[in-house]
Amino acid sequence: MTSRRYLKVATAVFSEMIRWSLWFFSILLVIHLIRIFWLNGGPSPIEGFFTFSQYSTSIFMLVLGIMSAYTFMGRHIQQGVSRRDSFFGISLAAIGLSLFLTVVPLVINGIQHLLAKVSVFPVALDTAIAFETTAGMIAAAIALFMNVLTYYLAGWLISIGYYRFRWIAGFGFIALTFIVFGLNDYLWKPGNYTLDWLPYEPLEADFWLTALGSAAMILVLFLAMKILTKRVPIKM
């Protein structure tokens, strides 16, 4: 009982987020299918679900992150959960959801790949494109996992900024998340490099070095959240 309180938070938050994710993926899949069957715009191949969903999935995670402090943290602490248990519970749920959001597009992409072989679709599907640009399927999955988790943490950062310091300082936290996005792009999308205060040295060469850099940033963000939620007064 005593050591399991954060697991109670994790299961409550995770089940809530999964419910929204299922809606999210259903809608996204419908849009993708509409694009394949009706809005395919000619003979050129269309990207598979994995590539198609990446951007939206990150934004979805950002939104969930932004809801964290108000919808999850406050509500759970009001039910007698400590800030510490709330932090670990939400963190665990976010990691679990990131895994889910990585696996689902992969599986849908795989199914599309198999279906494409028996020519179910009216247009060619490029289900492999996401995996060629990095170092294969595992690497693409790791990259997506770290990206969505980073977006969640960025949202959480904005949300705790507003929750704790109100709206003027909240803007400062938004600025902070732009730096997070910039660093994230610097690591994962050397082509879309957006920070001009860092020397431009593409890291394309080594996937694992990039992953390591990304993991370090995720760790720093978790640490920041731990510190920011540690003694936060609860809004009534």
Partner: protein, 291 residues
């Protein structure tokens, strides 16, 4: 008995320059119903939010069953704080919020919750922000009562409830206290309506403790004197009047201060009736005096 005691040692809470609580020291015994009374802005909610570990005091210590409560998972779990929450943005159904409470509260009794839902006629399948104010309060009360938290705090939890619903609320507190004793703190300014619930009374005003006593000894703080108008007036001439009422030739006066044995005998010979002072009158007097 699943009841928790509360202790505050020299607690001060400041918001920038405003002092919401000034050096409050207080012990609330386990297993009792404590009434926390104060005017609007007296610091009731600030005090309760500290006990519920919603925030930290600027200085001083807050203990539940002898342990500091802030960020103490064992203790926080035992404190249920029910207050007038803003549910404008709450689109979840009442059922779901009640389920969340049962997920976290170790002593939560779902059967009891369902019984209460029926008594309050709470539409649990409606989104909370679509419920009337009174029904939102009823939902809060259901969560607080059914939590059976060893320390259950109701901070003006009755807001928006109509008189019959408030009556159900008060009766349920007494009934459940008999079967499953715990510590209650009921904050209110509806004093005359709730005073019969209290075992112990705490009055605060402008962030300071004004009174902290068992309900029975409060009676000695004053008295009501009833009888023939002229006799009552003569008898209470040199006393502090809190309140007076007259009906025809009969007058009733609330006085402040203890009536000694000789005074009581004098009243008896005059044919005057001596009763206990009402908490409401005492509250008004004590908080006016401080101003």
């Amino acid at each position: 008995m699943m009841a928790a005691s509360v202790q505050l040692n020299d607690v001060t809470l400041k918001f920038k320059k405003f002092e919401a609580l000034k050096d409050v020291s207080l012990t609330l015994e386990a297993g009792k119903i404590h009434g926390l009374i104060g005017r609007n802005g007296a610091g009731k909610t600030s005090l309760l939010s500290l006990i519920a570990a919603f925030r930290e005091p600027t200085s001083g210590g807050i203990f539940v069953d002898g342990s500091p409560v802030f960020e103490n998972p064992e203790k926080m779990e035992q404190v249920a704080f029910v207050y007038d929450k803003d549910y404008k943005e709450e689109t979840e159904k009442a059922k779901k919020l009640i389920a969340l409470a049962s997920h976290y509260r170790p002593h939560f009794d779902m059967d009891y919750a369902e019984q209460l839902i029926k008594r309050f006629k709470l539409p649990v399948n409606k989104p909370v922000n679509k419920l009337s104010k009174g029904m939102q309060s009823a939902m809060n009360v259901v969560m607080g009562l059914a939590s059976r938290a060893p320390l259950t705090i109701f901070d003006e939890a009755y807001l928006g409830m109509d008189a019959p619903a408030r009556e159900i609320f008060y009766k349920e507190i007494l009934k459940d206290q008999e079967e499953h004793p715990r510590t209650f703190i009921l904050s209110t300014h509806l004093v005359s309506e709730m005073d019969y619930l209290f075992d112990h009374v705490v009055i605060i005003d402008q962030g300071q403790l004004v009174l902290n006593e068992p309900y029975e000894t409060l009676e000695a703080r004053g008295a009501s004197v009833t009888g023939a108008a002229s006799d009552v007036e003569a008898f209470t001439a040199d006393m502090k009047h809190l309140n007076e009422q007259q009906l025809g030739g009969t007058k009733s006066v609330m006085v402040y201060g203890e009536l000694d044995e000789s005074k009581r005998r004098e009243a008896q010979t005059l044919g005057l009736e001596i009763g206990p002072v009402s908490l409401q009158d005492l509250f008004i007097y004590l908080t006016e005096e401080a101003n």
